[in-house]
């Protein structure tokens, strides 16, 4: 019997009927639907035991004890360390993204040597270290030829760098500008010495003049925890917080009172307040009280209103609040963590002296024992040093940059970058390809904070001597990097110096021992604290008398850079996970929005959404205008952290860098370089 068409059809129909009695169709459909949801490029989760390991997170300048959560040994999240008395389980928005930053596309993957304009070649560590030693050997012993810029205020690495330089016969060790540097100068002008500290937790009224204590000033998380403790939800607050500064920022948002004070009017505000307090009966036993009293009397209500725009009743209300408080503390600082004048600090700190709060609300920290010999503190900051290089006053042949970004985060940034570029040999120890690293001749990748040993001594603002230390959370770093201090110690040996240590871990061990701290307890997330030292301060009247009155006109505006910690710091561009926190009133596409209030905009002749160009010195910044009634009169507020020209696609080319339009001037009477009161001209584009 042959197979004819009918038979064939019957076979097929039988096949189909039979298939319905098998799992073929149902299983295939089910499996295909699963296959269509499991494309190979959809990432798979990591499995394993979940552990929480203690670490010291130094992604922001303060440094916090945190717990890094790992799954199967791989870090994936950061939570707070509730047992640490300083961070008390808190985490800031930058450290919240800390685990993901270990895989940031901007990380330097291996040592890099510059081979052309913007071109780098990966080299081996032995070759990189040999090159470093070669360059330093050539300039050894010639003072002024080797310089270093350090961006890490709290790590003992600074001692190693300073000691290395000293051993090579150079004194050119400079810190990136920060609050501490200015504050210590301020304290000196008040007849004292040392790093000042502020006890927020023990105060019942905290007046912050400029200092953005709940977002970017000092030990932010510790400050936030102190604030939180005074505000139990659903119950009455036990302390008052007042913020007086150029912008209604995150700190001002939760403060009981916001007083708009333009950046150049801090001294007028503080002395005007002092005047009211003195008239109300405040007396100080400081030696220069009568001088101070006469000086404050010049800042009448009218003068204060002229300088700040604040009405008399606002000032009177504040004075009454302070008088009623039993434990007030006044914290003065630049609103963006640098560039403030010593006189701004003195004006604010003098209120603490007037109120008799030195030794309680405001403290002075004793100097700590050093772990490395030959260490010296520098008298200039990195900005002043580079300004000298630009004018030819300083002519280094080699520059070491440690965890700092001077090409981005110094006033007149473009100029600074140019000056840096002209130095013959530059080496950057950086975790990320930042603007400075992109200019350097040699990049030596540093491990991420969770991949290395590190420590933090006296983060600025702490009321007592404080020491934290951390150890790596993973067996080896994600990238081919080496601890920078280990590299420098190795180089020191090859240069014939004996700094006394082989690794950074050894240095930290010695530092802990010198302080009398238990290193194991510290690396497990603990803390060491010591007492503040005693000492009195005067009111700084003679210095304050020299304070200049800054005049602004309708054509120039004061620029107030605003720090929002979630958007990164000078050394860290916005972590990719934080990009969505940037508002539509701050950045749209690639355009930055600068903020000013309606009255200021009208005077400047611009409206909401207008394209403008802000210029000062040699720098200019392009942006659009957004009207924001929380900005002080005559001021334009500009967010920090934008206008990155290196890093990665997440942050490069978005907005513009406000550091470009900050101009440096000499503070009257102190010789300090200041830029917190910079002015800019606004032009429509």
């Amino acid at each position: 019997m042959g197979l004819d068409r009918r038979g064939f059809v019957k076979i097929v129909v039988g096949g189909v009927a039979g298939t319905l009695f098998t799992p073929v169709i149902w299983k295939s459909l089910d499996d295909v639907s699963i296959w269509s949801q499991n494309w190979p490029w959809i990432p798979r989760l990591n499995k394993g035991e979940v552990k929480a390991k203690a670490a010291l997170s130094k992604l922001c300048p303060a440094g916090c004890a945190v717990k890094v959560k790992t799954v199967g040994g791989l870090p994936f999240a950061v939570a707070g360390n509730t047992a640490n008395p300083m961070s008390k389980g808190g985490v800031c928005p930058v450290c919240a993204a800390g685990a993901q930053l270990m895989y940031s596309p901007a990380r330097v993957k291996s040592p890099l040597k510059k081979v052309g304009e913007g071109k780098f070649e990966a080299i081996k560590w032995e070759d990189a270290e040999a090159l470093l030693v070669e360059k330093l050997t050539a300039l050894k012993g010639q003072n002024g030829k080797i310089a270093a810029i350090n961006g890490d205020e709290t790590g003992t690495a600074g001692e190693v760098i300073s000691g290395l330089l000293a051993g090579l016969g150079n004194s050119g060790y400079y810190m990136m500008p920060g609050e501490k540097f200015v504050a210590e100068k301020g304290v000196k002008l008040m007849g004292g010495s040392g790093q000042p500290g502020f006890d927020i937790a023990g105060a019942d009224l905290v007046l912050m003049i400029g200092a953005d204590a709940l977002d970017s000033w000092g030990a932010t998380v510790a400050n936030q925890k102190a604030f939180a403790a005074t505000r139990p939800t659903g119950a009455a607050a036990t302390a008052k917080f007042v913020y007086a500064g150029p912008v209604l920022n995150h700190t001002a948002a939760v403060s009981d009172k916001f007083l708009p004070v333009p950046p150049q009017a801090t001294v007028a505000f503080a002395l005007g307040l002092a005047n009211l307090l003195i008239n109300d009966g405040a007396v100080s036993s400081a030696s220069d009280f009568s001088e101070y009293k006469a000086l404050a009397a010049k800042y009448t209500a009218e003068e204060v209103e002229k300088a700040t725009g604040l009405k008399a009743e606002n000032m009177k209300e504040l004075a009454a609040m302070i008088k009623a408080a039993k434990a007030p503390v006044v914290i003065a600082g630049a609103s963006f963590g640098q560039g403030g004048g010593a006189l701004d600090f003195v004006a604010g700190a003098s209120l603490n002296v007037l109120l008799g709060r030195v030794g309680s609300g405001m403290t002075l920290l004793p100097s700590a024992p050093k772990a490395v010999a030959g260490v010296s503190a520098s008298d200039k900051d990195a900005g002043s040093f580079l300004a000298d290089v630009a004018t030819g006053k300083a002519a280094p042949g080699a520059l070491i940059v440690y965890e700092a970004n001077p090409a981005y985060a110094l006033p007149q940034a473009d100029d600074m970058a140019k000056t840096l570029g002209n130095i013959a040999f530059k080496v950057s120890f950086s975790t990320y390809m930042d603007e400075t690293a992109a200019l350097c001749d040699l990049i030596l990748p540093a491990p991420h904070p969770y991949e290395r040993f590190d420590d933090a001594l006296n983060p600025y603002g702490v009321a007592k001597s404080t020491y934290l230390a951390g150890k790596p959370v993973v067996k080896k770093p994600v990238m081919d990097c080496k601890d920078p201090v280990d590299v420098l110690l190795g180089a020191a040996t090859k240069l014939g110096l004996s700094l006394g240590f082989d690794t950074y871990a050894d240095v930290i061990s010695a530092k802990a021992k010198a302080l009398g701290a238990d290193l194991d307890a510290l690396t497990a997330g603990g803390i060491w604290t010591g007492d503040a030292k005693g000492g009195s301060l005067n009111l700084g009247a003679s210095a304050l008398a020299k304070a200049a009155v800054v005049k602004t006109d309708d054509k120039t505006l004061a620029v107030a850079p605003v720090s929002n910690l979630a958007f990164g710091t000078a050394t860290l561009a916005t972590p990719p996970a934080n990009l969505l926190a940037i508002r539509e009133t701050e950045l749209v596409g690639k355009e930055l929005l600068v903020q000013m209030n309606a009255a200021t905009a009208k005077k400047a002749g611009v409206a909401e959404g207008a394209k403008v160009k802000l210029s000062a010195g040699k720098g200019e910044l392009k942006a659009r205008v957004h009207l924001n009634e929380g900005v002080a009169p005559g001021t334009v507020a500009v967010l920090l952290g934008f206008g990155r020209s290196a890093w990665d696609e997440y942050t490069k080319g978005k907005g513009d860098n406000v550091y470009k339009i900050l101009t440096v001037s000499d503070e009257a009477g102190t010789g300090l370089k200041v830029w917190a009161g910079s002015t800019v001209t606004v032009a429509k584009v």
């Binding site: 939180a228 939800t233 994600v478 009634e629």
Partner: protein
Amino acid sequence: MKAKEFKVTWGMVIDLDKCTGCGACMTACQVENNIAPMVDASNKMRTLSWMLVYELSNKKSGAEAEVAYLPRPCMQCGNPACVPVCPVIATDKNEEGGIVSQVYPRCIGCRYCMAACPYHARYFNWEDPIFPKGMEKALSPNTSARPRGVVEKCNFCHTRFMQAKDKARQDGGDPEALADGAYMPACAEICPTGAISFGDVKNKEHKVFDLAQGKDAFRLLEKLGLNPQVYYVSKREWVRKLGDNYAATGKPGAAKKHS
């Protein structure tokens, strides 16, 4: 349709007088839930911000100006608008605890739920999740990665709820009666000022029980009757008025007790 009743009702109380708008909660949420970073995150129609911090203003100027920040997770409504509209029941409110579930393999991406939600708490995956090379090693084990074409939303870090129940079982406790603080979503855990409190609003031993009934507590869009499980607290009247302008009750006062 009568809303389901649960013995345990997970809720949040967010103190708007303590929220500094720092954004740590937004970052913690992104990290815990494996949300891929977006290159252009300024396009707010495309960002996946399960937890989103809004900026509120009292529209005054100078020394009178005030700003408040309002973190908004999914409200896990007692009477959700999104559940009845889902054609495939990818979202449902059927688990003890009252967390509205969103099952990614079942979602067909029609986005009816997004249209229904008045809080804009639901987000659509316009693209597959692309992590920078290597960052897949930093994924959290707590949330699956979603392909493009599905809707996602905050689920009060539900996996942590399951893990808290396991820990309770391991310790010999009752997984159906967790202690206050045994289960905390990532945002509540990380908030540096402790503005976000979390717990069982029906359990007298959890602090949110009292906080939710405080005189300054309010809920957003109370008048819609969705019975959200997220309460806000503020001593400032202008902030409370922004909840829904007192339309629900006509006068200021505490939100209705959670039924």
